[in-house]
Symmetry: C2
Subunit: 901 residues, 2 copies
């Protein structure tokens, strides 16, 4: 018989942490905690395979599961000393999901399972606390009706609506009627009556009876958890996070322990290190006489667990360190035990039931970027992990946060905050206030920056949160939904900002006398919790001055095989990138150099020229500008290669298209307006992307190539004479046929000879190579490589042509494609490995076959995408080139790619 159920508890367990695929993250960790002697309420895990079998068999369980569950319940009884469903000494259980990867809030949970009129009396006798028991019963009925029964009845009300709302309204009415301020003011007998009312309401609305039977409740809850694996929220979360459907979820059934059994009971969540800063300090929140939900939900302001965890909101409240000194000491021991065991920061849930500490969960804690880097470096220095592990601990996207904007501290002091909340996600962000996730998406799609302001957030808001510059909530604590999600994404976030009065229907946010409307701009400081009206200047950290980061990236550099260059058109960008660790320029777009008043005029003269001589005259005016630009770039990158791409865009991008501007131009260059119009008309193309551009220009107008080659080589020659080590690499764009490259190469070599002669140089070092961006070039790479010293994949254009998508026009269908799963990700963001990647692979192999010394790199947008970088490493490219701010990310991604290989 297949083993479907694994027990844990009482310092032993059938599973362990290596079985995460079978037991899910939570189950594996609970088992592991038992194994290492951490006090965990006994329970068992129904494995993930059962989830798949459940779906395959139309909601039936495979043979043996029932029996194994019964055995496991007997085991729990033996460890906990009370028995599930026993009227005298009943054990209550929680039923929770647990996938391989945590999917917080995406699946269902039912607590207090096993409570019914049959078992209630025994529990009352045992606890001597009828109010607690009826309250637990009330909670069970509410949760069970919502999670199990409503779904079973085929009803799908809006979130927050439905049976749960109806039941909660009943309690609110009771409180109003009796004048009770708090839930806890309701006495036991009234709770009892309320529970009866609940059950009647459920019968009325859902058409079936609440099951007052422990086993029925248990199986109802287990089924609801399995079903929730394919609920809307879970499915959409999986799509975003790339979690395969076939992983399935496990179900964890665990003995309930209660933090709400009075003042010597408590519950809390904690991180073994500070997840926002990475400091090696125990960090957490707790509440006395509360259930775990209460801490997370943000209804009561949680207390700090210790001095380190104190913030503005809880500084008046007691810490566990002071109030429950002994228990805190136990917790601190467990913290050390867990870190020593897991070699990573843990996120734990604990409950104190009548003075006894129980650990309910441990898992690897989420952390923001700065914290991830700090923990990785410090744990490595502490000897807890090695460098490779440290490198794998930081997600490339997390580095973004370090490089991400923050409010300029130099000027922030001049502004008066509108309000202060909890600093849940560091960094700074500005944008228009939006009050709903939908509106956030709308404006963001229209290219607006937005700040999402909500009373609190729920999993339904994640899309809107994702597109926002910052997230602000009026309610909630540091471990509220908003805080967790924002930190996961490295997004600026302030929570629990009680001063905000949000009115969604009116579209206003009021703070005292200040009324802000949707669309007004605010700036959020997620590091301090301050919120400002208006747009404050943001700055970006200098990673060079961040010792932890530079140490970390230093380790990355030691491990990676792939070189990292940058795409830069200006010396400032090149310098910035060099500070970020760029090892050269992989792409300089020369066309950007043609804008600017005098340059564009000369450029237009060149374009409108009627014969070679006129064109050459105009080009002669451009030459000194180009040469100076090139000198700047080559100097900024002295000693490192600088790849310069020859003129690429179609010429019509350089000419004006409005009547007045055309007239002005005609006058400025002394031509007839009709003539200018005619030429501009002639330049118009139906599909400019596939038109007269790239090396096709240089072949039609060799004088353009000559001018650009001359400007670059003169710059290099002059720098050489000045003692600066300039290393130009001339890149011919849009080659599809090796003869195009041969044609342009011949011109460049001719110019090089001229320049050497004129400058009196015996030697001038430079390379000639080509972009591989036309599918034909990739397919005929063997021939092209005979003419090239390097290849650089232009994966943007290569994607456009290989997939047949115009980047400019794909907005009308590509998002739909990604949604439908036709492409796993937007192929312009992460390289399409099956299609475009195949060409990269083919071209690299054939190119090197012909020319073993061929340097091969990539300079498209994909050069900064971690998944793409791993692919390029696998294919064996020499380097990636990306925008300056992605250079550190590329260094990390390249290191991770090496390690994973």
């Amino acid at each position: 018989m297949e083993k479907y159920v694994y027990t844990f508890g009482g310092s032993e367990a059938e599973g362990n942490t290596t079985m995460v695929n079978t037991l899910g993250g939570k189950g594996a960790n609970l088992a592991e905690m038992c194994q290492i002697g951490v006090p965990v309420p006994a329970g068992f895990t129904i494995i993930t395979d059962v989830c798949n079998l459940y779906y395959e068999n139309d909601g039936n369980y495979p043979e043996g599961v029932t029996e194994q569950v019964d055995n496991a319940l007997r085991y729990m009884a033996s460890v906990m000393g009370s028995t599930f469903g026993d009227p005298q000494n009943p054990l209550l259980v929680s039923v929770r999901s647990g996938a391989r990867k945590s999917m917080p809030g995406m699946m269902e949970t039912v607590l207090n399972v096993g409570l019914s009129p049959k078992t209630m009396e025994g529990l009352i006798k045992k606890t001597g606390n009828p109010r607690f028991v009826y309250d637990a019963y009330r909670r069970l009925i509410t949760m069970y009706a919502d999670v199990v029964m409503e779904k079973a009845a085929g009803m799908e009300p809006e979130e927050g609506q439905g049976i749960r709302l109806l039941l909660e309204e009943m309690m609110e009415e009771l409180k109003k009627e009796k004048g009770y301020a708090l839930d806890s003011d309701i006495p036991a007998d009234e709770l009892k009556t309320l529970c009866d009312g609940y059950k009647a309401k459920i019968k009325e609305v859902l058409g079936s009876e609440f099951p007052d039977d422990a086993m029925a409740q248990l199986w109802g809850a287990v089924g609801a958890v399995f079903k929730s694996w394919n609920g809307k929220r879970a499915v959409s979360y999986r799509r975003i996070e790339g979690i395969p459907e076939e992983w399935g979820t496990a179900v964890n059934v665990q003995s309930m322990v209660f933090g709400n059994m009075g003042e010597n009971s408590a519950t809390g969540v904690a991180f073994t290190r500070n997840p926002a800063t990475g400091e090696n300090e125990f960090y957490g929140e707790w509440l006395t006489n509360a259930q775990g939900e209460d801490v997370v939900a943000g209804i009561r302001t949680p207390f700090a667990i210790n001095a380190h965890s104190i913030n503005a909101a809880n500084e008046e409240l007691p810490t566990m360190e002071l109030k429950y000194r002994e228990i805190y000491k136990q917790l601190l021991d467990i913290r050390d035990k867990l870190e020593a065991h897991y070699h990573d920061m843990q996120d734990v849930e604990f409950t104190v039931q009548e003075g006894r500490l129980w650990m309910l969960q441990t898992r690897v804690g989420k952390r923001n970027g700065p914290a991830a880097v700090r923990m990785a470096v410090e744990m490595c220095r502490e000897g807890m992990i090695d460098e490779e592990t440290a490198i794998m601990r930081v997600m490339p996207s997390q580095l973004d946060e370090l490089l991400h904007p923050m409010i300029d501290p130099a000027t922030e002091g001049r502004y008066t905050p509108l309000a202060l909340g909890l600093p849940a996600g560091p960094g700074g962000g500005s944008g228009k206030i939006v009050l709903t996730a939908e509106r956030a998406e709308e404006l963001a799609e229209a290219g607006e920056k937005v700040v999402l302001v909500r009373a609190e957030t729920s999993p339904e808001d994640v899309h809107g949160m994702h597109v926002s510059q910052a997230i602000v909530t009026a309610k909630g604590g540091m471990t509220s939904h908003a805080a967790l999600v924002a930190r996961g994404w490295g997004k600026t976030c302030v929570v629990g900002c009680g001063a905000l009065d949000i009115n969604v229907s009116k579209g206003t946010v009021t703070v005292d006398d200040t009324v802000l409307k949707e669309g007004d701009i605010v700036t959020v400081n997620g590091t301090t919790g301050n919120i400002y009206v208006g747009e404050l200047p943001l700055i970006v950290l200098d990673p060079e001055k961040n010792e932890l980061l530079s140490t970390f990236l230093g380790w990355c550099d030691e491990k990676r095989r792939l070189g990292v260059r940058t795409n830069a058109d200006r010396p400032e960008d090149a310098e910035q990138a060099r500070r970020f660790g760029a090892e050269g320029i992989g792409l300089t777009r020369t066309e950007h150099m043609f804008f600017g008043e005098e340059r564009i005029l000369a450029m237009r003269e060149m374009i409108l020229a009627e014969h070679v001589e006129e064109r050459e005259k105009a080009l002669a005016k451009l030459l000194p500008y180009q040469r100076a630009d090139f000198k700047g770039l080559l100097t900024a990158m002295a000693g490192l290669p600088v790849t310069v791409r020859l003129l690429d865009p179609p010429l019509h991008e350089f000419v004006p298209h409005e009547k007045e501007l055309i007239e002005e131009l005609a006058e400025a260059i002394g031509k007839d307006v009709d003539e200018v119009n005619a030429r501009i008309e002639q330049l118009t193309e139906l599909n400019p992307m596939l038109g007269h551009r790239g090396c096709r220009l240089g072949i039609s107008y060799p004088e353009v190539t000559r001018m650009q080659a001359r400007a670059l080589l003169e710059a290099a020659a002059e720098l050489k004479q000045e003692g600066i080590d300039a290393r130009p690499e001339i890149m011919v764009p849009l080659v599809g046929n090796h003869k195009e490259l041969a044609d342009q190469k011949a011109l460049i070599l001719e110019v090089a000879e001229e320049v050497k002669r004129e400058k009196g140089l015996d030697e001038l070092h430079f390379l000639i190579g080509t972009m591989i961006e036309v599918p034909r070039a990739a397919l005929t790479a063997f021939e092209v490589a005979a003419e090239a010293q390097f290849f650089s994949f232009g994966t943007n254009d290569l994607t456009q042509m290989t997939c047949g998508f115009s980047r400019d026009d794909s907005g009308s269908f590509l998002p739909g494609y990604v949604k439908k799963g036709i492409y796993g990700a937007d192929p312009f963001q992460s390289i399409d490995q099956e299609g475009v990647g195949q060409l990269v692979d083919i071209a690299t192999e054939r190119g090197r076959e012909r020319n073993p010394s061929l340097k091969v790199g990539i300079c498209g947008e994909h050069g900064g995408d971690p998944a793409s970088i791993a692919f390029f490493d696998r294919v064996g490219l020499d380097y990636v080139s990306c925008s300056p701010f992605r250079v550190p990310i590329a260094r990390l991604a390249a290191a991770q790619a090496s390690i994973q290989k």
Copy 2:
């Protein structure tokens, strides 16, 4: 010692026709003629290797050549009875080039070599004709100065300028001065003086003496011929014809015989069969007392050789058959001997010197299309060749001539073309100029013949195009809209005729100083690209009534492996193609069915719909039209497959773009003009070729696919019930990812089930497949083939995306590319085998690997191109599909491909 020199003459020869690579075509044929007993003036050939060695050794000959030439001259003397350079009995020689392949007029020739004051007296004595001798001397000096001396002096005057012109002017002056009308009026003594004047002028202009020495002349002439192998004309001809430089040319030195030694001398050219009709009749022209040049140059009107050769120009002149009865009989014998030997029609040159017949040259004769077919079939029937040889004897392009009305070649030469464009649709057409499609329809309805002249055409013009005799555009290339549509209909078309300045509002077409008005008559030659003012006579051949052609194509069908289908959108076209031998439809473009007044309105309603229901309502209006169209096509092709492509072009091609038309449309469909404008604006794309089109439309709007599938399957179901064997194949366009095809396939299968249910059918036969036109689809063909029953290569789009050329925009650079040899041919006309072909190969192999029963065809323009067809045969495709008028061509090309394999 290497043998460099091969002699021939006197019924024997050292070489033969198999040695064409060594001796060149002319030399090998002269040798071969001797071998078979044809009277040839004795001579020798210096082999092609010497040409290469001459260049390798800086103009020096390899050791032994001089000695071998001396021996050969001795051999000639022994055969001819006179000796080169002998003052008493001198032999004169011609020095001519002779490459492996004929390069007519591209290299140099010197005649009368060996004549000088030393040998002149002997010749005068021998011939008794001093005038003849001085005239020969004059010709030698002129030719030698031009061909040998001017080049040696390093002068390169324009063609027709230089020393030749100066000398000719001297003679003209003399004639003027003395009042002579003809060259032949100049008496011997004045010719003598003129020759002295020539020599003085040469000394003056070129700085060196004319060599009055036989051997010096001989070597000078030989060197000039070798040098001319790398002359400008020869090099550019070789590039166009694809002749490798390393082939080199041979030099033929041959005894001069003179047709200008009086009235019992003559010269002529003849074809062993009529090259214009193919009739098995000896055909030729001749002149008495003339040199060969005189016949070809057209200064005198040549006589007919026999009754068969008489035409309007020579009917009053004597025939050889009558005048030189005996010689003619000899010539007729030789004609039979040559055809029997060469098994092909020969083109011969002959000279009669004082009553003795000499053959100077034989080679395979050029012929036009009708003649090629007739000769091939008749020679096969005569037992001269077998069927395979017959098939190889007709060039596919020659069949074109049989299928289209053409300008009568007998008279076309008398007219001067107005302008030259690209020959996009072969044949000839005359009619009144019209500048709009509407005007074309108007006049055509009134019974007028019209020629539509546009800057370029769009789908809105198709009706006007259809009623025109010919279409001319100022812009666009060989695969522009106009070219594609015209070829599909077998209509005469010239595109990209940049010389035309079209002014629609004034109703004029201007070419330089010529201003044509709407209504003026022009004639268009779509085979050459020439446009003439006025009406030129046309001739037509009816292929069905042409027994020879149908026999010939029958043989082709027996030999070919490739299937041949047609691209057809209308039943008439399908029927036409079926008559031409099409074995099904490879491509029906459904979008053409959406034009027509009511249809386009429903189509526009569909496009402008705001939600699915509105869209479905509009589609419901289109459905009956489509179904009726499909029934027509399926009926026309009953028993044969009909491939229908789902909607392909971007939607903006269906909406109006002019203000007035937009307003009309808004009113017609009851929408706000602003709304309509906004939607049209939204449809505009930067690169529509790579935009929202093809299956992307069907994925965004599944209801469109559903309507089309329903129309086709309902048509098939109804025909089945009527007892007609309908075989639809549904083709999903622009697939790049197998999931796109899977998506569309699921929709179609759903519709099929519905239709079967509704029609009460148990079975409905149809296939689902895809165009392979996106490079990614080719690269991932293994996956795509899992969803497809057939692949059909859309090589037009595949070429656009693989090479990165927009067909519409490539006119600005592609012609230059072909000129520079970057592409051997326009890749839109003949498939780019190295690049695009590689994808065809990959996709076919991978597709069949996954799905061995996959049918693979091609439906792009290349399906009608012979070189491409040979490639597709090699790759192993199942069929090609081309426009109806190219079906016979494809049948032939496919047969030739099979035979060559």
